[in-house]
């Protein structure tokens, strides 16, 4: 969208952040001319004689994650792309709303730079489109279009936004909330296929037809094409090289019950190449693949790893001379264009105990680390004050350098004169320089009191506890055991299997019963898994690596209790069918649930597929009883409808739905169901269908094509009731692990840490996390196994040294700290018959509430001691206390 120079960095935060030469744009590489860059590069880093090398590596497993490809321009052309500058793809639109985008984050038309007054999104561009051979649903476009629409609305609340769609497929966890938010912001959703996109002066005219048969025209200032995810361009090449098969859409072919295994042994697939998917699902698959490889190669674990070695730490005692080195960073021009760096370094050099003060262009660069190490040696520095950017981002990097130089990492202090000074006082260079000098003085004052702190490690009990013996729990338990660690598998019921036992077949025609049989046999064979049936978690205490749980087995009268020590916990407690009270379920005999229909269809009953069936979707989910989408019901309805048609082709099956959410490749079966004569009729939330009882029990619904109420008397009324979690409330209290408003466990980060909980050492998978189908459950269970195995592999857990330390001499045992601590990280001991408090370092988060409340000043905080903070305050008042 903008001009890119042949030599560039893709984006400001690219890793590695080095410039590269685009071979398609470089004059030398294309025409053997120019080469101006070679002499101008001061560090002589450009060498055109480098050639591509081929290297051979022997590896035990390969994981392919090539991502997805772009929808071709030919498809986009049908939507006016390339014919009007303001028809853009959603990826381009994403760049436009970004601060580093072509208009610095301002929303402007390419045509004449005006702000668009109205905006249209066209969904399913290159997805659900047989015309371009992409019959599948890309699964992510509805959600990102809503996100982009919301962002656009935040840029300009006056901008009118319309989203043209077939079905809104926001089936992900809590995604429906975003749709509701968008509607409340005034974003319009129109169910219509856009037939034509035409240039209309500066504007673009869209022609579309709605369900009721009316055709409409509307001009827009800008049109965003919500492009789907295509298979990667080099899919065939990769498949040929690695020797695995692709599916009909050139994505990687995998089995439903082994979703990441390609058809070639030892080669696994993750991410969008396995099938279109969003970020959390890609991240989940990544961890799952790591788990599979870890099981496959467990005998080789640790063999190839290079462990970093550090020099022996130089002892720094209380009596040693304090020798401070101050490094003032230019950060390119980020700091030096405002702050007078030279005078800051000069003033720093005048401070007591400072034996060395210097400037540096980029303190965080690789070569600057080497310089830092040399200076530490040369000047025998034992305190470092880095005057640069934020410790939140850069402290670990410099601390690593200190360790490399043999200094304890707690002897490091950072002063932020970029984020907190040069960037925010850009117009006041003198005041910014004065502030920098003050901040350095305060930092130096603190650093005089910096002491080496011990990095504590606690050993880990190399055993896992898995709660729940359904598909998720069984898969996790097996996966952890296959990686070589003992597992205690706790199941509340009398048998293993959970909901898997109720599912008769999958949409793709696989047999869950077979899967259950295999898993049960594997668990029996796997000696590392101990199964506890009829059992529940009674209590749990401890922290990551060192949990102790009490498991109660059997009925209340003959209850047996066992105590188990373990390092990690996986929650796979599952969910169950939601029994709605609506639509006369339970009172009218012919009203049943999809699960009941499934059991009936799998049986041999004579009238199991009657002549007329009405299915009502979202009978429990999406605002009926439950606030969320249950994700599996649409697939289940399509599956059962197809089964009815298979048994009784004459049967009339009507599916009343709000949005059919057969995302991914399941779209094929939705198409098949329509072709086989299943009738799909959409309804609006405000105009729900009703089950009415009179002489007979009938369904009444509004037909949007006929535009009138229709009454029908089917033989069977089938409800898609949705899924609710089981027992998460009790467990959440036991473990102090948060749940969502819908009582599913809340992951630590919805995008990047999808199977970890906020409590360290506790992981979640399966329906306890949110509704999901079998294949996604398997992947998530494998991912949880990978994450849970990590502390077990490490064998020890590191504890940050910034924790509270209690002086037993001064402690009077009052217990105020115990009652104030939000993390249960202080316990009371009896020493010589006197009560004394003691910190549990692994639980302490370093907040310091105990220290500021202790009446006898017996508690101090590592890295933030009374002395350190007081010295900073005194330095604020210009008092210098040299030590």
């Amino acid at each position: 969208m903008d001009i890119t120079r042949p030599i560039h960095i893709d984006y400001a935060q690219a890793v590695p952040a080095t410039y590269y030469i685009d071979p398609d744009a470089c004059l030398f590489l294309k025409h053997e001319t120019c080469q101006i860059c070679v002499p101008v590069c001061q560090s002589k880093a450009i060498d055109f004689s480098q050639k591509a090398e081929e290297k051979i590596y022997n590896v035990g497993a390969v994981i392919v994650s090539p991502g997805f490809g772009k929808i071709s321009e030919e498809v986009l052309k049908q939507y006016g792309y390339g014919q009007h500058p303001d028809v853009v793809t959603s990826i381009e639109f994403e760049r436009m709303t970004n601060a580093s985008g072509p208009f610095q984050g301002e929303l402007k038309c390419f045509n004449d730079g005006r702000h668009p007054k109205n905006l249209a999104f066209i969904q399913c561009v290159g997805s659900r489109d047989i015309g371009c051979d992409n019959g599948y649903c890309s699964g992510v476009c509805c959600m990102y279009a809503i996100k982009e629409a919301i962002v656009a609305k935040e840029h300009d609340p006056e901008c009118e936004i319309t989203i043209f769609y077939m079905d809104i497929r926001t089936q992900g966890k809590d995604f429906d909330q975003a749709k509701i938010k968008a509607e409340n912001m005034g974003i319009k959703f129109v169910r219509a296929k856009v037939a034509d996109v035409m240039n209309w002066g500066k504007q673009i005219k869209l022609t579309y037809s709605t369900m009721d048969g009316t055709h409409s025209f509307e001009p827009f200032d800008m049109v965003v094409l919500a492009v789907g995810l295509e298979s990667p361009k080099d899919a065939k090449t990769i498949a040929d090289i690695a020797g695995f098969e692709l599916n009909q859409y050139d994505f990687c072919r995998t089995e439903e019950f082994d979703p990441l295994q390609t058809s070639k042994e030892g080669v696994f697939v993750v991410g969008a190449f396995q099938g279109p998917k969003d970020i959390p699902e890609s991240v989940t698959q990544s961890s799952a693949a790591a788990s599979l490889v870890s099981s496959l190669m467990k005998s080789k674990r640790g063999e190839g790893v290079i462990l970093k070695e550090y020099p022996t730490e130089i002892p720094v005692g209380d009596d040693d001379e304090v020798r401070i080195g101050v490094f003032v960073c230019h950060c390119g021009i980020n700091i030096s264009s405002v702050v007078d760096v030279a005078s800051v370094a000069k003033e720093a050099g005048k401070l007591g105990n400072v034996v060395y003060a210097t400037e540096s262009l980029y303190s965080c660069s690789q070569d600057a680390q080497e310089v830092l190490k040399e200076r530490i040696k040369e000047h025998r520095l034992n305190r470092i004050v880095m005057t640069a950017c934020s410790p939140r981002t850069h402290e670990p990097l410099f601390q690593e350098t200190l360790k490399d130089a043999g200094l304890n990492r707690s002897l490091f202090e950072m002063v932020n004169i970029r984020d907190h000074c040069s960037w925010v006082h850009a117009q006041e260079p003198e005041a910014a320089t004065a502030k920098s000098i003050d901040l350095v003085r305060m930092g130096v004052a603190k650093s005089r009191h910096n002491k080496p702190l011990l990095e504590q490690t606690v050993p880990v009990t190399k055993t896992a506890l898995v709660l729940g013996g359904g598909l998720a729990g069984m898969t996790t338990a097996l996966s952890i055991a296959d990686q070589g660690y003992p597992v205690h598998l706790i199941e509340r019921g009398a048998t293993l299997g959970g909901n898997l036992a109720n599912i008769k077949t999958t949409l793709r025609g696989e047999s869950p019963a077979k899967l259950l049989k295999t898993l049960t046999a594997q668990i029996k064979k796997q000696k590392l898994v101990s199964v506890y049936l009829n059992s529940e978690l009674e209590t749990v205490s401890g922290f990551v690596g060192n949990f102790t749980s009490v498991i109660a087995s059997g009925k209340t009268k003959k209850k047996k209790e066992v105590t188990i020590d373990h390092g990690v916990i996986v929650l796979a407690t599952g969910g169950k069918e939601h029994r709605t009270k609506k639509f006369k379920l339970g009172t009218v005999k012919k009203v049943i649930t999809q699960l009941e229909l499934e059991a009936k269809l799998a049986g041999t009953g004579k009238n199991r597929a009657p002549d007329s069936v009405v299915m009502i979707q979202c009978a429990g989910s999406r605002g009926a009883d439950l606030g969320y989408c249950s994700k599996v019901c649409c697939n289940q309805a399509v599956k059962n409808a197809l089964k009815i048609k298979e048994i009784n082709p004459e049967s009339q099956v009507i599916v009343l739905y709000r949005d059919i959410r057969t995302y991914g490749f399941a779209e094929d079966q939705y198409k098949e169901a329509r072709e086989k004569g299943v009738i799909f009729v959409p309804y609006k939330f405000a105009k729900k269908p009703k089950v009415l009882s009179g002489k007979t029990d009938v369904v009444e619904y509004f037909d949007p094509i006929l535009q009138e109420q229709v009454t029908i008397n089917p033989k069977l009324i089938v409800l898609s009731v949705g899924i609710v979690p089981e027992g998460t409330e009790t467990l959440s209290k036991l473990l102090k692990a948060p749940v969502t408003a819908d009582e599913f466990f809340l992951e630590a980060h919805v995008k990047l840490r999808p199977v970890e909980l906020a409590v360290e050492g506790v992981y979640v998978c399966g329906l306890a996390h949110g509704p999901k189908p079998i294949d996604e459950t398997i992947v998530q269970a494998q991912a949880a196994a990978a994450k849970a195995s990590m502390p077990l592999v490490k064998g020890s857990a590191k504890v940050a040294p910034t924790v509270s330390v209690i002086d037993k001499e001064t402690c009077i045992g009052c217990g105020i700290c115990v009652s104030m601590c939000p993390y249960n990280a202080i316990k009371m001991l009896k020493i010589d018959k006197k009560r004394k408090a003691e910190t549990v370092p692994a639980s302490c988060k370093g907040c310091g509430i105990c220290a500021s409340r202790c009446p006898t000043f017996a508690i101090d905080m590592g890295g933030f001691t009374q002395d350190q903070v007081m010295a900073q305050i005194k330095a604020f008042g210009n008092i210098e206390e040299v030590v």
């Binding site: 984020d419 925010v424 006082h425 006041e428 005041a431 502030k435 901040l439 305050i873 005194k874 008092i879």
Partner: protein, 66 residues
């Protein structure tokens, strides 16, 4: 310092207010340059003695952000 330019001492929680101050920098929000800050891991760390000492060192105001 003159009355028009009072010296302010700030205590910033590492997890929220310090992070917010970083974000203000990244977004280039401009604010007056008369605050000097001390990072703490939580505002719970702020001992009343810190505040009293701050005033006695000439702070016109103390800011606790958490």
């Amino acid at each position: 310092m003159s009355e028009a330019n009072p010296k302010i001492l700030g205590f910033l929680c590492n997890w929220c207010c310090y992070a917010a101050a970083d974000a203000a920098g990244v977004s280039r929000y401009q604010y007056p340059p008369n605050i000097r800050t001390i990072r703490v891991m939580c505002t719970g760390r702020i001992d009343p003695a810190f505040i009293l000492r701050g005033f006695s060192e000439g702070a016109a105001g103390i800011f606790a952000g958490g």
